[in-house]
């Protein structure tokens, strides 16, 4: 019982921690950042391997022949789509029925809380069309899903064509043990949300949809296909889903294994893997890929139609076809064979994918970092907060602190957070009446206004409270705020590691070293900085004005995501991170 009970050793350890507190904190921060950057260095990562025995080898003979016919179907689809001005429901139903599937449609409609300026929609009405290929000799207990979005304009026609071609080919096979559902969803994520809610009989987002007439069993895995050109040079795998949830790593391993077998170039985050990991440019390439994944995961939005499946415990990924300036082109038949191989393997599954990792980061498609390796980076940052809390506790130990003086700033901060969460959407009508702005701009500007108004609070609340400018008052508040931030960041990092890590990187130095004189950064700056960094990483750097517009659209998309799909980033930031940070802002203006 040495450390906790022996008073001499305790005293020595505590005096060490209080004397060297600031240097240890700085060392921890550097160590955390260095650890994180080191994760992309190839010798520190593991090669991906298939964990599920049922998907052991790629010993499947793919024989899909009808790539050209699939492209022709895609052209027909495009023509009918133009004629119908949206989803050509009747043509799709007839085509799927002629291929021997059981076809059903689902109508849905949703009024967005405010117009979406990126996709230019406000009152969304649409239809999903899906056909079920029943397994010939198996009980109808499990299903797989292949989906392609019906996008406006010229996008994703080839995807629907390949989907229909595969449906016809699969219909002639006899070894399917699971039902396969071929889904064409309209209005991408909104349609997918309606379909999933209808399939699972839940209604979490207040959407209006007609019930599904036909169903398969419980869905084991799903793939979403986005293909906008007749030939592709590489296939991109998108894994990040809603709230930063990732599918089981085995799905990515399956994709990679089949790409290797068939000989198609495969990428993740749009970046091709490089072999020269020991050179600086090779390492920075891996870091860029990993940082792109971190930024996408932290945003909490689904980056493909597959993102909404993950919430229902269905492993899903999106495969995007990319046509760039490379010599070697892959045609639709090869893509069809790849998908056929993947579905044959998924057909073999006896239980849901659970053997491999659910929490990982991928600096490239063949290497990954698991949670046991990347969590210490976050742990080192959280340690800084705990050391500061310990230091403050020892300083405050005589006399014992009173917690009641902390209550007022806490309550006011949380009320401001509630205002930031509820006011932007509720006041958009009033804002549109009085100011010459559109609804979306009204929502975003109200959010920014409430945020800035919160910054002005400490000056006003200090006039109300008397005698609160005591020397030790701010230390008590800082102790509570530091512990609150530590618990909050810990819980966030468990659910969405990237969001927790980015918040920790920017908020922990501020929180640890804030005193009534030092200046600090704000979470809004974090978001602004992240937007610019994201554009840099994607090799599409933006000017300041474009970056600012992008920033505003990110805020509006965040609020929309929360209203439409239940993304947690906006409520987390508004109701928890912002009040916590306001407590530190209060300390800043304590005198």
């Amino acid at each position: 019982m040495g450390l906790l009970s022996d008073p001499n050793r305790r005293r020595a350890l505590i005096s060490l921690l209080t004397r060297l507190n600031a240097p240890i904190c700085v060392v921890c921060y550097m160590a955390g950042v260095a650890w994180f950057m080191g994760l992309a260095f190839e010798p520190f990562t593991l090669r991906t391997y298939m964990s599920e025995n049922a998907m052991g080898s790629t010993m499947v003979e793919e024989r899909f022949p009808a790539g050209e016919r699939a492209l022709g179907t895609g052209r027909e689809f495009s023509a009918h789509k133009k004629k119908a001005g949206g989803m050509p429901v009747d043509w799709l139903v007839k085509t799927m029925q002629s291929r021997g599937l059981e076809v059903f449609t689902q109508r849905f409609s949703r009024r967005l809380p405010f117009p979406d300026e990126d996709k230019e929609r406000y009152m969304v009405k649409g239809t999903n069309v899906y056909g079920i290929l029943r397994a010939p000799r198996a009980p109808r207990t499990e299903a797989l899903v292949l989906s392609a979005p019906c996008s406006p304009g010229d996008d994703n026609n080839q995807a629907v064509g390949v989907l229909l071609g595969l449906a016809q080919y699969f219909r002639n096979q006899v070894f399917w043990a699971k039902d396969i559902i071929f889904l064409v969803n309209e209005h991408d994520l909104i349609g997918m949300q309606a379909w999933l809610e209808g399939y699972h009989h839940t209604n979490t987002t207040g959407m209006d949809w007609s019930p599904l007439q036909g169903r398969g069993g419980s869905i084991q895995a799903a793939l979403s296909l986005e293909l906008s050109s007749d030939v592709v040079t590489s296939l991109d795998l998108v894994l990040e889903g809603l709230n930063g949830q990732l599918p089981n790593l085995d799905l990515a391993n399956l994709f990679y294994a089949f790409c290797q077998k068939i000989g198609v170039l495969c990428t993740t985050q749009g970046k091709l893997q490089r072999n020269d990991w020991d050179s600086v440019s090779g390492y920075s390439h891996a870091v860029q890929t990993m940082m792109l994944m971190v930024m996408k995961q932290a945003s909490g939005r689904p980056w493909g139609d597959h993102g909404l499946f993950l919430r229902y415990h269905i492993e899903a990924a999106t495969i995007k076809g990319i046509n760039s300036f490379r010599q070697y082109k892959t045609d639709a038949t090869t893509i069809g064979r790849l998908l056929e191989g993947m579905y044959r393997k998924l057909n073999n599954l006896l239980e849901r994918l659970h053997q491999s990792y659910f929490f990982y980061l991928m600096p490239s498609l063949s290497h990954f970092v698991s949670i046991g390796y990347y969590m210490p980076a976050f742990g080192l940052l959280a340690l800084i907060l705990l050391l500061r809390a310990l230091d403050l506790w020892i300083q405050l130990a005589t006399p014992p602190p009173g917690v009641l003086s902390v209550l007022t700033p806490l309550v006011i901060s949380h009320l401001t957070g509630v205002a930031l969460y509820t006011l932007p959407i509720h006041f958009q009508e009033i804002a549109v009446e009085h100011f010459p702005v559109s609804e979306t701009e009204a929502v975003v500007l109200t959010a920014i206004a409430v945020y800035t108004a919160g910054l002005a609070l400490p000056h006003n609340t200090h006039r109300l409270l008397t005698g609160r400018g005591t020397e030790n008052g701010w230390k008590v508040l800082k102790l509570v705020a530091v512990l609150y931030l530590a618990v909050l960041l810990g819980c966030t990092a468990l659910i969405n590691f990237s969001l927790g890590f980015i918040l920790a990187l920017t908020l922990v130095p501020v929180a640890a070293f804030v005193t009534p004189d030092l200046c600090s950064a704000t979470p809004a700056c974090t978001l602004l900085f992240s937007v610019f960094l994201f554009q840099e990483l994607q090799e599409m750097p933006v000017s300041f004005l474009d970056g600012w517009m992008l920033y505003l659209s990110v805020i509006s998309q965040g609020i929309l995501d929360h209203a439409l799909y239940g993304s947690l980033v906006y409520p987390l930031v508004a109701l928890l991170v912002y009040p916590c940070w306001l407590l530190f802002w209060n300390i800043l203006f304590w005198k």
Binding site: M1, L4, S5, D6, P7, N8, R10, Q245, L310, R311, H313, R352, H354, F358, F359, L386, A389, L390, W393, P400, L483, A486, V487, G490, C491, L494, I495
Partner: protein, 432 residues
Amino acid sequence: MAAPLTLLLLVAVTVRAALYRSSLADLISERVEVVSPLTAWKRVVEGLALLDLGVSPYSGDVFHETPLIIYLFHFLVDYAEITFMLADVITAVALYLSVKDYNKQVFRKQKYALEADRYPLDCLELIRSPKEMQYIPLKVAMFYLLNPFTILSCVAKSTCGLNNAVIALFVLSTIKGNSRTHSSPAEGNSIYPLTLCAAALLYLLQRQYIPVNLRRFSFWWFVAQYAFMYLGSLFVIVGLSFFLLGSWDFLPSVYGFILSVPDLTPNIGLFWYFFAEMFEHFRLFFLCVFQINVFFYTVPLSIKLKEHPVFLIFMQLAVISIFKSYPTVGDIALYMAFLPVWSHLHRFLRNIFLVSCVLLACSALFPVLWHLWIYAGSANSNFYYAITLLFNVAQILLVSDYFYAFLRREHHLSHGLYLKRKDGSEATLVLK
């Protein structure tokens, strides 16, 4: 003192009523940390439905509370929310009155000891004054009523609130001096408050000035009287349950269920994970080990704390809450309500910061890891059990810290505050 207490009761009732009307009530009543298979309101409703159909409520392994509860709710099911709020109010008032009485006795004993010059000269700063003890009963009531754990337990309509009320009434009647009949309802509801009767016995012996000497006849006579009254009232309660229900099948369903732990729903206790992974061959052995663990601490604690029976009651309540087979946060709230009574020990507490941080962090992490395990499917039971273990370790550390502080203060009161070795140099106390 009545006005602040009434205000506190009003605030507490308002908070609970507001939460009952909100949408959070359904969410809370499903949380496994707040309700267990013993205390869930859903099961009481099922039992009532079975009773209305004329079937025994214990058929089908749904309902596991005593028949007294089900007959109470047979008449009060429409006023269930008021019943639970009233139970919380009764607990708070009972704790308030008992702590007030206890403080009076502590102060009186201290006065006699001061007059008899039994304290060394340098430990006068450890003597407690009436001014510092004035607000302690109100703080105890506040700690119970405004504890988030209690509020969650009340909003979920967990019968733990009723159990807490009975235990609090038992503590009140012990401190007032006549607890022989009141202990058995507490023990009737679950078996574990049996360990509290040793503490009550010691308290009554002290009150009657009968020394705890195993060779004296007066001691054994008192113990026999106490045991007779206790067993008698226990039989009365069990017999009453039998007559109300009409059969004996509540015995295996209530007491057999608590002792044999057949239901392994995850909760904040230590039993579920162990017994989920255990082979059938060893199940009885480990069951005995775990159950003896709950009762065993009575013996050494009673021997060490025979002069301080109220602290012994606190320790026993804590041990029961941590090691029982289906703990919930309502049990934790009951022993935490006693912490202000020992607030004079704060200068000897060593790990209070670490413990409170860990308890806070674990309380926040319970729902997160439950979500990751059950809904997202990314984690598994190991993650949740890790937090359960950490939570229980923190509670054990809290209880042992208070025990250490209490014993250390007693040591200082008899040996002086500044300890010297035999050669006169300064010494420090080390726990080995």
